[in-house]
Symmetry: none
Subunit: 226 residues, 2 copies
Amino acid sequence: MATKIFIIEDEPSIIKLVQHNLEKEGFIVSSSLNGNEGLKELKKFQPHLLLLDWMLPDLSGIDICKSIRRESNLKNLPIIMLTAKGESEDKIKGLNSGADDYITKPFSFNEVLARINALLRRSEPNTVADNLEYEDLKLDRIEKRVYRGEKHIDLGPTEFRLLEFFLVNPKRVYTRDQILENVWPNNINVESRTIDVHIRRLRQAINIGGKKELIRTVRSSGYSLI
Amino acid sequence: MATKIFIIEDEPSIIKLVQHNLEKEGFIVSSSLNGNEGLKELKKFQPHLLLLDWMLPDLSGIDICKSIRRESNLKNLPIIMLTAKGESEDKIKGLNSGADDYITKPFSFNEVLARINALLRRSEPNTVADNLEYEDLKLDRIEKRVYRGEKHIDLGPTEFRLLEFFLVNPKRVYTRDQILENVWPNNINVESRTIDVHIRRLRQAINIGGKKELIRTVRSSGYSLI
DNA sequence: TAAGTATGTTACAGTTTTGTTAAAAATTAA
DNA sequence: TTAATTTTTAACAAAACTGTAACATACTTA
């Protein structure tokens, strides 16, 4: 899924510059020229990251930031503050109000891009890389395909998500609860044993032609990708 | 557990300033004055965050950054670059090498603190390896694996918890009651002799190939990890 | 030294956890 | 709609782990 970015900034020239370039980079971008309206649209748009100007005609960036951090479903939204204020005091105020990063004007687009990527990499590993690899296993998120070496592997949707999840942190052991939470759609209730069945199917699919087993069972803990 | 921060920076005055103030904030801080040594100590110290200088006498901060991102158990270590280079180009290079944030000198301590907190807030708890080591014994809590030297050791769940418990305070002697209380699930009742059997199993597992005995019996008291 | 106490070792039965299969239920595609 | 695919559950099999008892060995002390 493409990454969505929302911009709240009152200077049209900046919006134009940033929005255009971000779209060229493959992001889906939406923006607003003022605070109150921006806050509303933001909730509809559900972005993966917010670029937020400090000085706005109505609400201040700080207020927006605080307001966002109070909303339970936006609590973790990565926020980059965008502002002319370069004083150290201001940076601290900005960061403490809940922003994750802070860029002072004037800035180059490349700096914005680098910080966006750094922040996205941190906040949600799966929004960045298009494909994941481990040993001779390759998963392409765009094509939704999996390969073991040269061989193409057909996976059902759940097995695909399961493998995708494991590939983000290979070697790490996950409990069944963690797997459920991350691989299954929210608020769904399935038996934890259901996972075992999907693990089995995934194993069967990726262990082709006598190749090495790639999923490790850790008794009383869970599973890991080797 | 307190948050551990590691600093690699060649200017003693900066180390002193930052380290002292961070400790006042309740962090556990360790530091190194150069790259190669720092990288080694870092792996032992297992910090939750790294403050990394760009310009170092031997390795550059960029190289250290890249090297860290290649280590599977340090992949998610939050890194803040600390440097005199303020040019936009450099920032991009720094962030793209895998750093999560970037502070230019001169900085105020409060700005460093604000950025540290912003980054820690963002980073997923538990992604940083809380590994335990003693002599050539290594226990990885994330991967749930144990190594003696290079050799991988397979342990059952109880033996794993037992070793984990001993590794927190090596050399300390624990009574069977203390072991029961800390290693066994609450409200379970097992004979104290059961511990002896698990100790034996653990011993057998970790004393591979004529290596030195690591568990000491203290008659009429209990056991300790040497 | 011998008796008494503490620990080492082993085997095994019972328990828990995981693997595997098949069929019912749900979802998606035609 | 029906057909095809996918997901979930349940049931049983297999494997791994646990606790205990029983005996062996080592240490302590009278």
